[in-house]
């Protein structure tokens, strides 16, 4: 699409945005892949429409306030990137645009405080834990609270698992086949510490020595995707230092964190550490990809056959192109029958802090996902991302279903331990 954007005027990400807009041919193939278009059915809430709006704002022919509501409604799920035949790097566009527009916009005071609150708690396990405790105490007050405070309360689990500090190093069992660094993730340490424990056990069992570097922090994706570039940079700089050692790979077991680390080259564009960021991003792998490449040590058969539905986390499938590997891992467990979820490419509505900031659309998508999962008749749902895990569990329960939701490595871990 032609445009009249002057990249110089727009700032360090100007080139990136102009390039993405140029690549869009307005064909509309993104429409059926976009969750908000599916729900709202209006052009402004489609990827093609948003690209047009961003173009108009960057050209200066439309005010930011006019475009903002529709940019805000984008989940950043990148379903459109998978669908786009023309290769528009939509993720780079929306992330850069949010970074560009955030300092320019005026938000109501309570909204500012709420966003700041999220950014100051979620990435820090100790603070998040304290906030979650507070939130549970506040639950009886829910009907009295403003709507934007109700969404986070609903997502909090009734009982938080006790904190479990991770070791600095886990030795490989048997012959050592690889040595990796592990990103523990922030929110998942509080909500589901079992994910990391399972990951460490599965890695050790497969002959992988795991180092959990001290000094690592949240990857910064939460901040980056909501336009808080400076905050994201601060966090990312700490990680560049923490993960500078010599490892065969840097592993994550959360889709969002993995794609967050892979976005470092975009984040550091024009900064001194650009090269370093690129080098780090190249070594980042999702745990499923790493295990498939390594080759799993034999998994014992399940005691009874198990029907498993695998849910593609958007930040694995659309952002990182990882679809086959988690499925391959699950198939390598004898006794697992893998089923596909209808509309599998559609986001579950979790999308980082989206389900806190746009609870209505998030809930519509969450329910739709839960119903699609139930339609498969699966006994277990498996996914590779903490956000999806929380959202799906929440919406299955709302429908009165107690289908277990597990991380891919949890199922693998249970199979190794003979618990299934």
């Amino acid at each position: 699409m032609q445009h009249r954007i002057d990249p110089e005027k727009v700032g360090p990400q100007g080139e990136v945005m102009a390039h993405a807009i140029e690549a869009c041919v307005h064909c509309g193939f993104c429409l059926p892949a976009c969750p908000t278009y599916q729900v709202l059915g209006e052009e402004m809430d489609s990827p093609r429409g948003r690209i047009f709006l961003m173009k108009e704002v960057l050209e200066g022919s439309l005010s930011l306030e006019e475009a903002q509501p529709y940019i805000d409604k984008c989940l950043g799920c990148l379903g459109c990137v998978t669908a786009c035949p023309s290769g528009v790097p939509y993720g780079e566009l929306i992330t850069s645009f949010r970074a560009y527009s955030e300092p320019k916009r005026r938000r109501p005071l309570f909204q500012k405080a709420f966003r700041m609150g999220l950014q100051e708690t979620l990435p820090y396990p100790a603070r998040f834990r304290a906030a979650a405790r507070l939130g549970r105490l506040a639950r009886p007050l829910k009907p009295l609270l403003p709507s934007f405070l109700r969404a986070p309360l609903e997502l909090l689990p009734a009982e938080l698992p006790p904190p479990e500090p991770l070791p600095e190093r886990v030795a490989a069992e048997g012959e050592r086949r690889a040595r990796v660094a592990f990103l523990a993730g922030c929110a998942q340490q509080v909500l589901q510490p079992g994910f990391n424990r399972a990951a460490l056990r599965v890695l050790a069992r497969n002959g992988v020595e795991v180092v959990i570097p001290k000094g690592q922090v949240c990857c910064g994706a939460l901040a980056l995707h909501t336009g808080e570039r400076e905050r994201a940079l601060r966090l990312a700089r700490q990680n560049l230092r923490a993960f500078s050692g010599d490892y065969d790979a840097i592993l994550t077991n959360a889709a969002g964190c993995g794609s967050g680390l892979k976005e470092y080259p975009l984040l550091f564009r024009g900064e001194a550490e650009e090269e370093e960021a690129r080098a780090l991003a190249q070594r980042v792998k999702d745990i499923a990809v790493f295990l498939v490449e390594l080759g799993l040590r034999e998994v014992p058969p399940l005691k009874e056959p198990l029907r498993v539905a695998y849910h593609d986390a958007c930040h694995l499938a659309h952002a990182q192109g990882v679809r086959a590997e988690p499925r391959a891992l699950l198939r390598s467990i004898p006794g697992v029958e893998l089923v596909e979820i209808p509309e599998g490419e559609l986001c579950c509505g979790s999308a980082g802090t989206y389900n806190l900031e746009q609870p209505q659309i998030a809930a519509t998508l969450g329910e739709r996902k839960a119903r699609n999962i139930l339609a498969t008749g699966a006994q277990v749902v498996v996914t590779g991302n903490i956000g999806c895990h929380t959202q799906i569990q929440n919406h299955l329960r709302k429908l009165g279903q107690n289908l277990p939701v597990l991380h891919t490595v949890e199922l693998l871990d249970k199979a190794y331990a003979g618990q299934l």
């Binding site: 509309g28 209006e42 709006l53």
Partner: protein, 477 residues
């Protein structure tokens, strides 16, 4: 807000868009060379609401255009500056599916591919398959008489629409066609299909479903020249085989499709021919042997046969993504759509190559070879001064070439905004006048999709004398 707009807001309390941020994304369809800002967009949810919108437009003499997914490549759903867009995306339900009668009744915003998905449990499908089928709506398909790769065997949209409930430009409702294949009286439905939104808006469409072919046999043949591939098409047809589809892609198109979806095409081929046989298993098997001989003697240097449904889908995915994928090769391009008689394919392609060299612009070719429907994609960079004009000129030459070879200026994308200037190349003033009269009989103010299809575009005062009348050749009572 003007009083007229306030009136519209009362009619559409939850379905009116009028703020700049809401209107901007509706400014163009898939032909972004044209854009126009409408006064408002309305989102009706029922037949009655479409009637209300059309009546409001009549009352205020404001032109309107119906819009589905906005995938038109000819600017067919481009708004009229200051007019109304009637967006039918909320009328997207399947109303009935009758597996015994093999029909489906859908609202206009229902997506083409969804028809086949809904019919699949009964072993049925909807045959017309434009490349935009995962996106484009039945209403839009109807308005532009959409084709697709498999129209070679099964015909265009017009061959698969049995009936339609439509809102005429004066706000009256008409039912055209019937649920059976045999209608009585003039073929009003035939007139309506392909009229590009000039004669009204369909609000309910009855579609014919076909039994899914029992077997497919999909062949991919690589050639070292485009002409050889073109000649192979003529040879296949001359041999008596009627494939479901026959498609050709040239090297630029192959490169783009590979980059987009990794279809696994032979990258170094100058031309790729896709032939698909479909039908009952024994019939397909017999034809496959025959086809193999024809292809082998056509000079293909590599021949592959899809061994599974997944391989077949991959071949088609590359082909169907090709248009948009060309966006990877060039910032801008014009998708052309012209038809030549099948026997003139080789000649047309050679001539297009010469034109491409003369204009210094790359032309990618992806087309429905079986029915001679060419889709040259003219690559240009809009930021280079004068390049768009050169590209448009080249596009015009290609269309003139199609007409000169005995073909037409559009196969399936329609005239829309893009080709209205070429209508006189194909039709005499008398032909055009006849079309205009039909239109004016239904829409004297020319409000419905004003500015499209007819050269010039601006409406003329209604009911002027016919040029032949003026010349004294014919006399009216």
């Amino acid at each position: 807000m003007t009083p007229a707009l306030r009136e519209l807001e009362i009619l559409f309390p939850k379905g009116l868009l009028h703020r700049p941020g809401e209107l901007a994304p509706y400014e163009s369809d898939a032909l972004t060379a044209f854009r126009a800002r409408p006064l408002a967009v309305v989102l009706p949810e029922s037949h009655e609401e479409v009637v209300a919108a059309v009546r409001w437009c009549q009352k205020h003499r404001i032109p309107y255009v119906a819009r589905g997914s906005g995938t038109s490549l000819s600017g067919g759903s481009l708004p009229v500056e200051g007019g109304i867009v009637i967006a039918l995306n909320r009328m997207n339900r399947l109303l009935r599916l009758d597996p015994k009668e093999r029909t489906a009744v859908v609202q206009p915003g229902f997506i083409n591919l969804q028809v086949s998905l809904a019919a699949a449990p009964y072993g049925l499908y909807y045959a017309p398959d434009p490349s935009s089928q995962p996106v484009s709506t039945i209403g839009g398909n109807l308005a532009f008489n959409s084709g697709g790769a498999h129209c070679l065997k099964y015909g265009m949209t017009s061959n698969h629409v049995l009936g339609a409930k439509v809102v005429l430009p004066d706000g009256e409702t008409a039912s055209l066609g019937s649920e059976s294949l045999e209608g009585v009286g003039p073929d009003w439905l035939g007139l309506f299909v392909g009229s590009e939104g000039l004669l009204g808006i369909a609000t309910e469409v009855t579609l014919r479903l076909l039994p899914k072919p029992e077997a497919y046999h999909t062949v991919l043949a690589a050639y070292d020249t485009l002409e050889k591939a073109g000649e192979a098409v003529a040879a296949v047809v001359a041999s008596g085989i009627l494939p479901g589809a026959m498609e050709i892609m040239d090297s630029l198109a192959i490169e783009a499709a590979e980059a987009a979806v990794g279809a696994g095409y032979p990258r170094e081929a100058r031309a790729l021919l896709i032939v698909e046989l479909e039908g009952e298993a024994p019939e397909v098997e017999a034809e496959a042997h025959h086809l193999e001989q024809v292809i082998r003697s056509s000079g293909a240097y590599e021949v592959r046969v899809a061994q599974s449904e997944a391989e077949r889908m991959k071949i088609w995915k590359g082909r169907k993504a090709a248009f948009s994928a060309v966006g990877r090769l060039s910032p801008d391009y014009i998708v052309q759509d012209g038809v030549v008689p099948r026997s003139k394919l080789g000649q047309a392609l050679a001539e297009i190559e010469r034109l491409s060299e003369r204009y210094g612009l790359r032309v990618a070719n992806v087309f429905h070879a079986g029915d001679g429907n060419l889709h040259p994609l003219i690559l240009y960079n809009g930021r280079v001064p004068g390049e768009l004009e050169r590209a448009e000129e080249l596009a015009g030459e290609i269309l003139r070439l199609c007409v000169a070879l005995g073909g037409s200026i559009t196969g399936e994308h329609g005239v829309g905004m893009e080709k209205r200037a070429y209508m006189p190349e194909m039709f005499s003033p008398t032909d055009l006048e006849a079309m205009r009269r039909i239109r004016q009989a239904l829409d004297p103010l020319e409000l419905s999709n004003r500015g499209k299809m007819f050269p010039g575009g601006e409406p003329r005062p209604p009911s002027g004398p016919h040029p032949l009348e003026r010349a004294g050749v014919i006399v009216r009572e």
